[in-house]
Symmetry: C2
Amino acid sequence: MSLIVQKFGGTSVGSIERIRNVAARAIAAQKAGHQVVVTVSAMSGETNRLVAMVEALTPSYNKREYDVVVSAGEQISIGLLAIAIDAMGAKARSYLGWQVRFLTDNIHSKARIQEIESDRIRKDLDEGYIVVVAGFQGVTDAGDVTTLGRGGSDTSAVALAAALKADLCDIYTDVDGVYTTDPRIEPKARKMDRISYDEMLEMASLGAKVLQTRSVELAKKYSVPVRVLSSLEEGTGTLLTVEDQTMEKVLVSAIAYNNNEAKITIIGVPDSPGVAASIFGTLAGANINVDMIIQNVSAGQLTDLTFTVPKADFKQTMDILKQSVKTIGARDVTGDTNIAKISAIGVGMRSHSGVAQKMFKALADERINIQMISTSEIKISVVIDEKYTELAVRTLHSAFELDKERGDSVGG
Amino acid sequence: MSLIVQKFGGTSVGSIERIRNVAARAIAAQKAGHQVVVTVSAMSGETNRLVAMVEALTPSYNKREYDVVVSAGEQISIGLLAIAIDAMGAKARSYLGWQVRFLTDNIHSKARIQEIESDRIRKDLDEGYIVVVAGFQGVTDAGDVTTLGRGGSDTSAVALAAALKADLCDIYTDVDGVYTTDPRIEPKARKMDRISYDEMLEMASLGAKVLQTRSVELAKKYSVPVRVLSSLEEGTGTLLTVEDQTMEKVLVSAIAYNNNEAKITIIGVPDSPGVAASIFGTLAGANINVDMIIQNVSAGQLTDLTFTVPKADFKQTMDILKQSVKTIGARDVTGDTNIAKISAIGVGMRSHSGVAQKMFKALADERINIQMISTSEIKISVVIDEKYTELAVRTLHSAFELDKERGDSVGG
């Protein structure tokens, strides 16, 4: 007998009818001989409704209390799902984060899971129950309710699968798998049968919204086999797994894009030790996540420093820098919100050269100017003018022949 | 320094603006030098919304899971209220039933509080926090969520006041106090400044919807001074307290009515031991609450048995009795849903005779026929045709001179 963790997002439990559909899937898996744990998000729209009430009270809300309010969404959906399963003749029992228990740190609204006490779940599974667990929420050592940040239910599911040593963690969503790029931009985008944790990690952090980044990190850390598949139609989805030789044969597996970042340049920065540390220290102190950083080769005593931040933090970042520009003796600060980051991702890059050159040439052929470049072992990202986003994605998708079947294809 | 428990119902926290109003009241009490604990219900409409979703899934829902779903309503309102208090510059902390903790039995959907562990609340109060506690919910010894039944937040507040040995438990509602009768029926109805626990108990169980019966029982048991007052306008409300001599001078304090009951008569019941026990045993087994019971003097071997049940249980009761009538050898069963129960209540009855006669005469003068009579130490109830409800209430209200100021009046 194998143990399966199933995770359903807000759309999948967005109505009474859909909750029944989820119940049917869980029961089917149990009838097929598996032990089944189901993790669900709040019904679609519910978390937004709760957050809107909080924000209507004050923009600078108490985060401990924010967690109390928003965690109610998952509480409603687990109870309803357990009732649906029970009404369809199977045994079900729901658990909240504090009951299971999902022990987290006390960073309210974006807590991290530290430990899961799963004894009660195991006991219920052995007694034939389908166990329904609230995603997104946890509890601190002191007994306060916490939430894991938006999209945290993916992380709940993978953490639960790791704690229970589950044989499979099925993440049901509104897409039928992970694609070589966004199919809304490139209709020739192809669903991948498998993808390595590292590739998925790059895709998640680069803006492909299929899975929360932390859930993929966790899956990699504990080698949890995660499958992304559709809750609305049948299919085999995409399996996240450790990389193997067939994967390495492919230079580039996917093209990702992100147009939620803005570019900032500090002009005429004194080229002396400690200046960069001071700038980024100030931004880190304001909880602003700096992404790509480029420092031009100095010409004399002065240099230019360019980096990207989330668009949502752009105004605050500019305000802070306009102050500190004087302190550090730089000349000026300029910003640009009309940029996009396009990335080519593939574990095959590790053992092949020439990927960067191929990427730059393909973009140059389309007269798309590259403003910034950053690379990792398995990824090359470029920043371009936002208006070329779709063109760049399609250009790179065909340059790396992602529309053609890969060697590792299972479907044939 | 005194400790006050304030309870606000769903209407009082029904919108963002009203939540701010509740926050302001709590802060004002703290600024006046009190330690303040606030208990709130779910925002008005919220519990109905949650129950409707449960019932859309199945009419015979799992009650453990029902409690998980509906208790989310109070979770939302306590978090929002704590955020509002915090935003207005005072310190606030919210607690759910399992955090405080409200230990209950495991009768899901109508659990009873067994014990409250209030250490954490005391500590917070001493540190200057306004403590916001979820009404209506608790937790079992095994760690399952329970709810106390509709209106249970009153009971939560009084239980909390008893556990904390509070100096006052203020129940804020949408009326400004307890009236000598329903002001919608008798415009001359007068707000009482004080009422004894026993009188309030009779009024609560007789259909005056100001307070949940169990909350009054609890207040009496632990001598908690409870005040009923309006959350929307200023006023001194009505104080529930132990009875005193001034109260005993008044024959009748209030007139209550209840037209949510139905009358059932079993005709031709064999007048032998055990028959009544068998009938009412069957009804108790189906969780049907039987209220007034009258058995006519037997004429020969047969007798008639009349009693009342909640209108909501009328159909089920008739179905059950049509079966058992044959078993016990009775002749027939008839029912009437068009009845009303009118009651005169007053601790003064204990030491005065003549109240019943005065009541029956006043009704007779208006040609209102009395179908059933039942009495307790401090109450006389009669069942009449429902269409005379308003006339009977007004008739008795003036017969007992309730429109005139009582001797114990504080307001003058």
